[in-house]
Each structure stands twice: as structure tokens, then as C-alpha cells.
Symmetry: C2
Subunit: 384 residues, 2 copies
């Protein structure tokens, strides 16, 4: 009855324009025709990462780039401060343990952003820690951490800050060079609006020096090889050519729209979704420091999150994400990235109203959509 | 003037049918719609790998699966016999070194297949070696190694045989279970006819036991997590959804045609290309044990391989591969995999005749194509 609408916080809906680019006849990555594509992609990635450093392209999911930054920048026996405020913070800690690095975890209640003073205290308690590992946007909770302030704390100590920007790059203003981020990571299936399969990591000069002295086994994710080859147009191993063809289209679209415009659009979209959800009487899971990548919504007592997600998808074609780990069944997450506009998100709100009513929650039908429509209209008027 | 024809030994031309499947609207890997796709893909991969074991799907290039089999099956301080007969044999040895495993290399002249007695002698000289690491088809030289005989030698000793089948699975008959291969690896951009970005590895029961006792840092390529999740439909990290949609189409096509029919087709195609090349007075680089995945051709004195490759591509639209490593400039390699039929390869032979003449080699124009046409016709007649 309804079309399928993919609105999880990744993977995201891929525009037809990008899908067509990926469906073009395959060229070989050593063909002359691929070189200008890869050059353009690398230059445009630098603009999106707001860096003059090389943005390395890896054929893996985002986790591969997280692993690469750990195994290339930290050595066995060292320690690192880890902000553990959700599932992806846990992933940083797991990666450290696998590589014999002691994670000094700053445990933050899920749904809350880390406070800079918590990280400062962690460094004071563990002054030998080599690095801070943190998410910019913690996709599992919809929280945005204060990266700029955290970077300042790290710089006072001459340590490294490794930032998982998988659901933040291209959504929030996260200027790598201006803020002095030492590793900035992203993936293809979030704000870039591509299918999964590509990961990205850019390293600062300090990080590049650390790269040389690190002793960890690494081969597929050996960033020394990538830093040597990619500026000359060659990945160390066969690149995902079709995804890179799609990436060019995606980056063109992003830079045509303009980063400031995109950040403003995400801000307004996220704001209007949050207001709509609150108009339905629901509470936000991360009210104080919400990421614009997705909105996490607490479910009212008596509503089973898994059942709501299932019903939204089966009856209304709306694919949102449920909660992960300790908040499974307790929240839903509505993604704002990819080929999704304000009207798609309006449909999500309408479907949410209907599904909640179906499940016995007294949603005021039309209150969410009215609120959202008003806010979307204000945004249109502002833009002229 | 001519269409682009991609005939390297990978990446390969991707059929329009597969490209269309990949260009379908993206679904989420946790959506119910993805489950039947992934189930079908896993079942059909088992048929292509000729195994009842799980064929694990990784989001990486084939090198990622090679690394996974080393880091998951071998421990620091152990040793392994490595057949080093080309660039990919060298890769096995490099991977061992990165993980603190001593490679005991059987060095084989490029263009020649390893002899079983060479491997037997290596095991006698290094009886503690835990495993044999070998390519089935060594893509850099176009050689096929005698995997069945090598597996028997390994089994006598109760050791493991890890087979890089990246350009052999789906080309040559390589029955994993019947031959007792402990790890069989492949990638998407070879016989499966997909773009790069997926790798595959299947493990025997013995390999699975080794997995449990191995101590190596591994996270993205931790096969224990994949073996736990994939039989239940979940990869450990976000899978490359669009490539997996294409993979389903590819596998359907392969099994519709039938493995024995495909092996026979490759055999005849490779045979006809080799005969055509010889009819031009050129020599084969791997005359004794040629892989059917590609034909490596020695270049006559005075012909610069790089120049020939360039001319074939620039003037005739035919994209073959040159030599790698120590045979750079000395050979060309014509791939037979992917969306390439006998008539495409006939065009390659015609272009080769013309380009050789252009560069001053006295090719007898029409001799190669006549030979090839005759052989293709015989094959058609046989098939009825």
C-alpha cells in the first residue's frame, strides 16, 4: 500500500542518480578513465572532511577504518581514553583490547553526551594515555559529543584524538584541520548517501608520525601503504570501483548544495522531527545534545519497540531502527541521512502516529505532522 | 572507434543484468527483504565452492580474506610452507611475516606450476610447519597449481591447506569438501563477474578448530564472529548490500548454466585463445599448467609490453593486463572471466594482431582470428 522508505541511521536510501552512476559499465581501476574519477573523489573528500590532509579510501565498512586507526596509531602496552557512551564507544574499547591497548573508559549514561571535564579527569588519572577515542555522533543513542572542546583538552597534553565521524561527517560542522583532529573516520552508508562498502580515514601530521613508530600486525589496513599509494592514484588493494563511481556523484551533489547549506538543512530537519515527536507526547532519548544524523525517541510504557518497528515497516513501509544493546526495545531511531527529504520524514511522522494508535497509544492523529509542516514551512520561507 | 572491452584477469566486465540488480533501490541489511537474499546467496555460494561448510562473506577485497585466513588460523611463532610462484604467492609470505609466522617459501620460477615433490620436500625440511599456503590459479603468471595433489601431501601430515582460489573458484573444478581444502578463498571481481568489494572464505572443520586456539589480534576480520552470525543471517559488520544484491544475480546465472558446463566453457575458451596466440608466433608464459582464468603471453623481443597494453586500450578499446613485478613489460595477460564471451575474445585477438603490426612485429593478420574461429566453431558443434 505504501512505498518502502528507508530511514534508519544507516544504511540509508540511495538516490537514483547515484545508483545509475554505480550501474555504469565497470572500468578497471588501472584504466586511465579511473584516474580522473579517483582524483576528483579525493579532492572532494578533502573538502567534505575540511582538511588538506589525504582522505584515505578503504574497501570495508566503517569498522574497518576504526580498526585501522587503532592498529596503525597505537602500540601494544599503551593505554587510551575511550568515551563509552553507546554501542560504538564500546567498539572502540573492544578494538583496544584486541590490540593489547588498555582502554581507560569514560562511561557515560546512554543518551547523554560526555562532558569535557570527565575526559580531563580521565587524562589526569591516566596521564600516560596516548590518545582519546570518541564518536562525534554516537549513532546508537543519537548523541553529539563536544568534539571541539575534547580536542582542546587533548592538545594541551600533546596526545592524539581519534574521532569516529561515521554519522557526523557531512552532517555536523566538524572541521578536521581547524579543530586539530588526528584521525577522522567516515563510511559510505551515512551522510554520503551511498550503499555500504567504503570507509574513509584522514590522518593529521602528528598521527602520521605515530604511524611510523607503531608496532602492530596489519596488512589489509596498513595505512602506510595507502598513504604512499593513494596520492599517486593507487589503493594498495583492489578498490570498490562501482562504489567509487557512485561516490563521485554523491560528492558532486554535496558540494553543489554546499556544506553550510547542508548543515543548516540537517539542523532544521532534525529540529522539526524532534518537535513533531514531542508534539505526540513522546520524549527524546538524547534531549540535551542531539546529533542531527538521527533522532532517538523513547517509547511510552506499554509499547514494545520491536513490535512498533515491525508494524511501521510491514504496514506503512517505513523502516526505522530500533534500539541496540541495552536500549533494545526501548527506543526507536529515525535517520535523517541519505536520499531523504523533509516530506519523507513527514511521512515517517504520520506513520508513527498511525502505528502508535494501532498499538493502543493515544496519539493525537495529525499533531505531529502539523507541527512538522509548520516548521518545514518556516524553513522554506527563511530560505526564500 | 571501438567499444571498451575489459579483459584483464580482474576486475572484469560486469553484465548489465548484474549492474541492474545492484542499482535497485537499497534495502537495509536488517530488513526482512534482505534475509531471503542473503540466505539464497549463502546456499548458492556453497554450491559454487562445492562445500557443505559455511561460505563467509566479507566486505573487502580478496586480500582481506587472505589476511583473515592467516590471522585466524595461524599463531605467532608458528611456521607455514608458502608456494611463492608469483605476486600472490609473495603476498602469502608477506602476510605471514606481518603476523609473526615464519614463511618457509617454496620458490618456483614464474610461469611454472609447483611440483608436489617440492612441497613434500619443504614439509620434510620443516616438519613443524602448520599449514601450506598456495594459490590455485596464480593470477600474475596464469599458472594453475596441482591443488588436489598438494592437499593429499598436507593430509598425510595432518596439517592445513589454505587455498587462494580468487581466480580459480568457478573457473576450475576445485571441490573444497572432496579435496579436503581447509580454507578456500575467493573474491567478487573474478569469475563471479561482479565489481570488486566482496571477499569469501570457507573453512573446514579442522580449520574451525584451529580458529579457536589462534592468538592474533583481529577484529574486522574475526572469523569467529562471522561463523556465529552469518548462519543466522547476520554479518558482524554492515555488509555491502548492493554488491550482495548483484551477487544473487551472478550466482543464479552461474548455477543456471551449471558448473560442469562453465568449467568446460572456460577450458575451451582458454584453449582457443592460447591456440590463436601461438598461431601469431607468440609464446605462452605458462605453457605447461595454464590456468583457464587468463592467458599470459610472452612478448617478442623489441615489443615493449607497456606500450602494447597502452595501444590496445587507446586505439582498439581492448583492456588487457600487463605483467606485474619481475615480468612487468615482458608479458600481457588476457582475462577470460566475467561478462566476456568467445566473440569478445576474438576481438581481443584481432586487436592484438593489429597492435603488434602497428608496433613493427610481423604478425600475420588473420591467422590468430582464423585459428580461434575454427576452435570456437568446433566447440559449438560439440555442444550441438
Amino acid at each position: 500500500m505504501y512505498k518502502y522508505r528507508l530511514v534508519t541511521p544507516g544504511p540509508v536510501a540511495v538516490s537514483e542518480r547515484i545508483r545509475r552512476a554505480m550501474a555504469e559499465e565497470l572500468i578497471h581501476h588501472r584504466a586511465p578513465g579511473f584516474q580522473p574519477v579517483f582524483r576528483e573523489v579525493r579532492e572532494k573528500l578533502q573538502q567534505v572532511f575540511q582538511t588538506r590532509r589525504e582522505v584515505l579510501v578503504l574497501a570495508s565498512s566503517g569498522t574497518g577504518a576504526m580498526e585501522a586507526s587503532v592498529s596503525n596509531l597505537l602500540s601494544r602496552g599503551e593505554s587510551a581514553i575511550v568515551v563509552r557512551a553507546g554501542k560504538f564507544g564500546e567498539r572502540w574499547a573492544e578494538l583496544c583490547e584486541v590490540y593489547g591497548i588498555r582502554p581507560v573508559c569514560v562511561d557515560v549514561e546512554w543518551g547523554r553526551a560526555v562532558r569535557p571535564e570527565e575526559v580531563r579527569a580521565a587524562f589526569e588519572a591516566a596521564p600516560a594515555a596516548r590518545a582519546l577515542l570518541v564518536q562525534a555522533s554516537e549513532t546508537s543513542t543519537g548523541v553529539l559529543h563536544p568534539i571541539r572542546e575534547l580536542a582542546e583538552i587533548v592538545h594541551e597534553r600533546d596526545r592524539l584524538i581519534l574521532v569516529d565521524g561515521i554519522s557526523a561527517v557531512g552532517v555536523h560542522d566538524l572541521p578536521m584541520d581547524a579543530w586539530g583532529l588526528d584521525a577522522l573516520i567516515s563510511g559510505s552508508q551515512k551522510s554520503l548517501g551511498l550503499p555500504p562498502g567504503l570507509a574513509f580515514v584522514a590522518l593529521s601530521e602528528n598521527a602520521e608520525r605515530a604511524l611510523e613508530r607503531t608496532t602492530q600486525p596489519r596488512y589489509y589496513f596498513d595505512l602506510r601503504k595507502e598513504l604512499e599509494g593513494q596520492p599517486r592514484g593507487h589503493t594498495a588493494y583492489t578498490p570498490s570501483v562501482s562504489l567509487i563511481l557512485g561516490l563521485r556523484e554523491a560528492l558532486r551533489g554535496i558540494l553543489d548544495e554546499g556544506l553550510p547549506q547542508i548543515f543548516a538543512r540537517y539542523q532544521r530537519t532534525a529540529h522539526s522531527v524532534r518537535a513533531a515527536v514531542q508534539a505526540l507526547g513522546l520524549e527524546l532519548f538524547a534531549p540535551d545534545a542531539p546529533s542531527y544524523a538521527c533522532t532517538a525517541v523513547c517509547l511510552p510504557a506499554g509499547i514494545d519497540g520491536a513490535e512498533l518497528v515491525r508494524r511501521l515497516r510491514a504496514v506503512y513501509g517505513v523502516h526505522v531502527a530500533g534500539g541496540q544493546g541495552k536500549v533494545a526495545g526501548k527506543i526507536i531511531r529515525i535517520g535523517h541521512m541519505g536520499d531523504v527529504d523533509g516530506f519523507d520524514l513527514l511521512a515517517v511522522i504520520a506513520a508513527l502516529e498511525m502505528a502508535l494508535l494501532d498499538l493502543g497509544y493515544p496519539a493525537k492523529l495529525g499533531e505531529g505532522t502539523r507541527t512538522m509542516t509548520q516548521l518545514l514551512r518556516e524553513f522554506s520561507l527563511e530560505k526564500g
